[in-house]
Symmetry: C2
Subunit: 404 residues, 2 copies
Amino acid sequence: MKIIVLKFGGTSVGTIEKIKKISKIVTSFVNKKYKVIVVSSAMSGVTNDLINKSRKISDNFNTSEYDVLVSSGEQIACALISGRLNHLGYKSRSWLGWQVPIVTEGTHRSSRIVSIFKKRVLAYIKNGGIPIITGFQGVNFENRITTLERGGSDASAIMIAKFFDAEKCIIYTDVEGIFTTDPNITKKAKKIDKISYEEMLEMASLGAKVMQPASIQDARLNRINIDVKSSFKNIPGTLITKRKNINKNKIITGISFTKNDSKVTLIGVVDKPGVAASIFEPLFKNAINVDMVVQNISADGNKTDLTFTVKSEDLNKVEKLIKNNKKIRFKDILITKNVSKVSIIGVGMITTPGVTYRMFKALSKKNINIQVISTSEIKISVLINKKLVTKAVSTLHNEFKLEK
Amino acid sequence: MKIIVLKFGGTSVGTIEKIKKISKIVTSFVNKKYKVIVVSSAMSGVTNDLINKSRKISDNFNTSEYDVLVSSGEQIACALISGRLNHLGYKSRSWLGWQVPIVTEGTHRSSRIVSIFKKRVLAYIKNGGIPIITGFQGVNFENRITTLERGGSDASAIMIAKFFDAEKCIIYTDVEGIFTTDPNITKKAKKIDKISYEEMLEMASLGAKVMQPASIQDARLNRINIDVKSSFKNIPGTLITKRKNINKNKIITGISFTKNDSKVTLIGVVDKPGVAASIFEPLFKNAINVDMVVQNISADGNKTDLTFTVKSEDLNKVEKLIKNNKKIRFKDILITKNVSKVSIIGVGMITTPGVTYRMFKALSKKNINIQVISTSEIKISVLINKKLVTKAVSTLHNEFKLEK
């Protein structure tokens, strides 16, 4: 039995016309003898509208009721898709998270799928039915509706693919796939045919908004092939798969970047064990995401300079928290707004020496000054002036010949 | 334990502001030491919007998916109410039909509540919680969401009042209660303090749109006191109760009327057993509602004249069905459009002779011609020219002193 999971995002089911359109995608797989499981998000706009309602009711809306509220969005979308498939003469029904059931643990608004009881859905599939399962939601052991943490409906689709041993999971969305970089930055950006989980994780967390890192990590752990495709154009998308499935003919797979970062440097911090923890503790407690962190070696072995980046919208709060932090002492604080992080990503760099050098040289030729550097096994990130992002991305795109 | 059921209709929860307002009604009862169960409809407009979506998907939308779709409306309203009560510092949670569970039988879109498993909700109430239960929906033995037949959320509220042995069920709506007649017809129309189930049934089925007859019948069978009140004004409403609870100081309780009826008379019908059934069978099969039926005694014992009324919008269809009906023979068909039925209703007429005479005399004094008469134990209906409805209602309102 060839099971395939088709997941449709909010924009793919955003209107009645789009629901009619994606229903034909579903039937095309059924006609190719696949056993299809559909996972759907809410129609685009619906979830935001519900969240707005909750905000008007309370600035501290009860989280379990929040889950009851927003889960109605997927319920509506799934009933409509199923209704359409029935209209087209196919056997189909919606399965809400609690009906499957998709069992979750953890707190409301950020639950995790721990188990999917597949018996009834599987029997339905074997009888020729097309189940339309609500994404982004489940039910907890108290029999209450839950919604998932980061990853949302993608996470549902991937866990369903795992529990049902699906051959593949196709994520239908409003883009054609994963690109070497943002096509708005350079027209040379090219769709990537295949990308490894690890690269995709770096791409996702660095700004490519197609899939949430948590779902990619789930797919990676469970070795599920994910195809990211457009629901509007019938053209090949990007396959996210394990490294072995990819012919490594490129050093760099993609370039990602951030916008609106700010750099904070503490000068002359008294360097003693635990000082970094003391600096970041209040930021963590206020849910402020700290990105690049660089600590210079202190010249006299007593004092050090520490640099980190945060989102610019958090900057005021960060400045206040640092200045009010009684646990740390430093000489000065320097703040640089309008910086951006540009990263090159590729599993190929593991086996190819000189990538860092090529990157720095290419940027330096264009007079792009590097403020901070941070590297991992498969990525190199540099912090630069925000105004130079387009130039830097284009330069690196050319340098590593990503358009080919 | 004094349990009270508060049911809010769509207009009572139609906006965020209204949800905030009715939440205060709920807490006022909690503060008076009542154990409150809330039953809510969907926010007004939401259900229609969902139905419109289903129509765009299919002109024959799958009924079980229809139930999944529209049931989301009450889910949203209940989550918001519960969220508001939590915001105000009260312990509250939503209970969807399947969570209670409210078990239904029958087909989708027109299920009936057969059982309510109250154990968990009752424990919650005893622990000081305010359950907010979705009206209009339940779950069937296949674990699928169902919606109810006629009566909708009112039926849910009344069945919940029954199963939880509630002291009273208050139906909050957008009117102040039940009036002696439509205030748009005569300004003398007065709110009724108490009305018997039987009278209310006649009022409801004759045009007063406040409550569906099916729910009143449920209340009657289970002897549940219903208070119909405005959710916007804090003033007494109308109590629907058993006859014994009412001081019968009035002969007539109210006057109702229809609009847009048509009268059909078949002249010279060959009178043989089963002929009436033959006439009405095709109308029944086409879901056409036949209202007043009068058959005159045939002069020669062989032929008879038969008169009945239907909604004017059904008239063309009725005419075609009658003329194409091979099973009946008649001399002629007479059609009178633009007639209305005016009814006086009151349990008092059982014990008071001469009511019919007073009604006919009052109408005749105003030159209002009566075309057809039909009576039951507690009501007298007459068919008149539609143009004369206002005059007739005012005349009868005065005659029976309903303004006092």
